[in-house]
Symmetry: C2
């Protein structure tokens, strides 16, 4: 059978998902960046692209997961309730990240995954990855890369965000959020209680520290839930903080 040229294939209206995938701005960094166009063709029908609002839940802890998700835009937080009954946010995922990997292992999800901002996802059924993985070595390597990435982020969270004085924790969080800034250079500024759940601080302390930084010109608050950072002052403040 003759194979169509890739350009035509990806514009074929009989493969509506083809256009989404080929146009996907995160394809280079996304899971299926490891696939060639021919492999890509076969998967279009299986992928949905749900859209969520801030606060919506992607999946729930304990749920028997049958899919993973690529984050095309927006930020996802992973949270769980501690043995002491407190809500804690243990990690964030952003554009290009692959979440819900545990579904591949037929394990229930290990956390609640919640949208922090409006969210564009690609829903990838577990079986699809299993099928492709048998033929395509690179795909499995790519999956393992994502696992390692998540692990490193979780460890960095322990080291950088869970320790030190309140001001330093907030500074480090802002530096992390800076990496998820949108095209206009705006960051998502979490609600104070979410900050608290991330940094292990109270709402009041978060509010005080953020307000202080606003007065110092480190950030400019732009409702709703956004802010513009002054990178230079932020870096300077972090420097000062770490020196002490």
């Amino acid at each position: 059978m003759l194979m169509k040229p890739i350009a035509l294939l990806l514009q074929d209206p009989s493969h509506p998902q083809a256009q989404v995938c080929s146009a996907c701005e995160v394809r280079r960094s996304a899971l299926f960046g490891a696939l060639d166009a021919v492999s890509l063709e076969r998967i279009h029908d299986d992928i949905a692209a749900p859209h969520l609002e801030a606060g919506d839940r992607v999946y729930a802890l304990g749920q028997a997961g049958t899919a993973l998700y690529t984050v095309r835009s927006g930020i996802v937080r992973f949270e769980r309730v501690t043995a002491a009954g407190e809500r804690r946010i243990v990690r964030l995922a952003g554009r290009g990240d692959l979440i819900g990997l545990e579904a591949l292992l037929h394990k229930p999800y290990a956390d609640d995954a919640v949208a922090c901002t409006p969210l564009q996802l690609c829903r990838i059924p577990r079986l699809l990855v299993g099928r492709l993985g048998q033929e395509n070595e690179d795909l499995l390597t790519e999956v393992m890369r994502r696992w390692q990435r998540a692990l490193e982020q979780a460890e960095a969270w322990v080291a950088e965000l869970a320790a030190g004085p309140a001001r330093r924790r907030v500074l480090r969080l802002l530096m992390l959020l800076e990496h998820h800034a949108d095209l206009q250079g705006l960051i998502w500024l979490p609600r104070r209680d979410d900050m608290g759940a991330m940094l292990n601080l109270t709402v009041e302390t978060c509010s005080r520290v953020v307000s202080q930084m606003r007065r110092e010109g480190i950030l400019e608050i732009l409702p709703p839930s956004q802010a513009r950072l002054d990178g230079a002052r932020l870096a300077a403040a972090a420097q000062t903080q770490d020196a002490s």
Copy 2:
């Protein structure tokens, strides 16, 4: 070619490592538990079984890793230095755990890995896993399972050990160490400064809390660096702590 019976194969003195592997007490839970005896035969020559003392380093952050390790006995800690220059322990690994997974991806190690107790390891060259992985689907699944396990442990660390009052953090740490208890029911009791690096507390605070728990009969300190836990009192103390 005729295959030898497994029992003979594994006792074959021409495969000295065969005896170690077949007798390995962690084989059921170890990486190569996914392999059959025939596959197992081929790998013996490639595996070394180093022995380390407490304080020795398994590998260093940034090192270009060419091997992963199975922990046959003992406890390993993963530590890194924060941007603020403080040493932080971000995770532990114990018997049956597979460490240094990032070597599979040709990435440098993400942390320092240090022996907390005398340590028996199996050193598994990266190339060996790559070779076996191409033939054996289950092996790769098993590797991914380890990755997920490490991720869940890191997230649990954030949620349970990095938050709450000092007494609760120490209680939770003891409950974690309880899972790594040896045959006599003794746990590894970290030095106070290591506890501090795990729980984000000062040496003095750790000392005060541990001493208090010793007076309460929750634990009995047995130098060097060991202790016997009173499981019931520990659980009761944790219960009380979480209720508040």
